[in-house]
Symmetry: C2
Subunit: 299 residues, 2 copies
């Protein structure tokens, strides 16, 4: 196991200007692991209900994503329903936590020595519990959202203090730090403890901020964004999957991780659910990574 990914496994109903889908595979842990698996062997820690379709489980397993940390509980799978009128911002129409309401993330024994850990966007109390179960990882990363920033700020700050890489979108970074200037916000967040802030900016790409380190990466140009769901998680998954593969934690690796996270996210948004992200040819990842480099190169 190279990378443990803790997060939601969901059934989603999504509507965008390009169509709509119902009860399709989704969730932060699924998107992140599906992106990571192009670079390393990820394992999921999550929970599903008895209604979780066998074909979805098969899809996950077929991609060589380890599911020994995926619990099945009595009840229904976490359900999210969202609408994108504006492709930069989902409108949540319904959230049914179901079995996720009592999720108790238990890290299987064989995951506990894993060197790379991603805490997807879940309750910071659970994120802390996960950290207590893992032994001496090389790199821990987390994501979060406005709900926890507003509702469980002190618990959230406790997790942020303990991890290495904070993935956060720009509005939430401003909310967390109460700084309007995004660079000041990143600088402030760095003082909470992480080595690195990865600020996600949707169609504008992302930047990474650390001590004496700043690197911008645009989004890969996609003319037909079909469904943005999972873009942030597939970005984080590609990012961490590459790091776990490289086994190095330095500026050069972070830049490459930004590049590959950007590319996995670009495939994610080109279709609903995991339809595209689950079947990318490696040579297409390489081709887009090469193009992206050209789009920013001054030479």
């Amino acid at each position: 196991m190279d990378l443990v990914i803790v997060g939601s496994v969901a059934l989603d109903a999504v509507k965008t200007p390009y169509g709509q889908v119902d009860r399709v595979l989704g969730g932060s842990a699924v998107y992140a692991s599906m992106a990571a698996r192009y670079f390393c062997r990820p394992g999921i820690v999550g929970v599903v209900g008895e209604d979780f379709p066998a074909e979805y489980l098969k899809l996950i397993k077929d991609q060589e994503i380890d599911t020994s940390g995926l619990q099945t509980r009595k009840g229904k799978t976490f359900f999210w329903k969202g609408n994108y009128n504006n492709m930069n911002c989902a409108e949540t129409l319904d959230t049914q936590l179901n079995v996720f309401a009592d999720f108790d993330p238990i890290i299987p024994q064989e995951y506990r020595k894993t060197k790379y850990i991603f805490l997807g966007n879940i309750d910071p109390v659970l994120q802390l519990e996960v950290l207590q179960q893992v032994e001496n990882p090389d790199l821990t990363a987390m994501d979060t959202m406005n709900f926890w920033i507003n509702g469980k700020r002190s618990e959230l700050l406790e997790v942020i203090k303990k991890i290495d890489v904070l993935f956060i979108n720009e509005d939430e970074l401003r909310m967390l730090t109460v700084e309007k200037n995004i660079l000041k916000a990143a600088k402030e967040a760095l003082e909470y403890g992480p080595q690195l802030i990865v600020c996600k900016r949707g169609e504008y790409g992302a930047f990474v901020f650390g001590e004496d380190f700043l690197f911008y990466c645009p989004a890969y140009p996609i003319f037909d964004v079909i469904d943005p769901t999972g873009a942030g998680d597939s970005f984080a998954g590609g990012f961490l999957g590459y790091l776990a593969q490289a086994g190095k934690i330095d500026k050069e690796s972070f830049k490459k991780a930004m590049q590959l996270g950007t590319i996995t996210a670009s495939f994610c948004v080109e279709d609903f659910s995991l339809n595209k992200l689950s079947k990318i040819e490696l040579k297409k990842i390489e081709a887009r990574a090469g193009s992206l480099q050209k789009y920013v190169s001054f030479k």
Copy 2:
């Protein structure tokens, strides 16, 4: 004369979270020429009223900006009053066209063979008049705004058809083309006639789009944005000033132009009015240009 810049010369009253100023020097032609003059010899075509302070005229002339195209008319100078609660978007509180209402852009004889022309954001009818007065330029560029897109669309499209480079912000590009996806919008706008679309995205930077050409440039990181007024014009001025200096129109020059426009804009926003943009040391421009390259380099 290397670059003719047609546009407004204004007195501005601006309020931002960092302070406020009244009747300070502003206007698209002033910001653009002040940025361009670090790279070439620009000349302004515009109009001021009898109230235009002698010290502002001196400031412009002292920067070796040619003012033989700057008319003085009976009446008051164009006045704009704006407020920035959000640094990405000005709220216009007052616009007094004054002498600008009857502006008749007359290109002085000695400007007519100039090879580089920038049509700042003015009435497209006037932009067309300027184009009719110049002889065989190497490169013509223009800026515009929502007011003309909505109010004088057919005249605007006529200018766009005739010029080489369209500077436009992303909201206005979407408005112009009725395309939501910004890349599709740029592709559509390219079909209106220009060689190149330069899409300005405020704090996210800019991208340039042409046939078989796409290049992204982030904004230079500024922790203390004091006043965003003139950022777009100083970007265009630096961009075109560099091209006029280089005397080459190719992809490599466009990339360098993006870089230097980004840098002149970064100085512009660090103080009110032209306070900083009018006195940058060249070595500081070079230093920021070098840093910017580092912030996007995968190496």
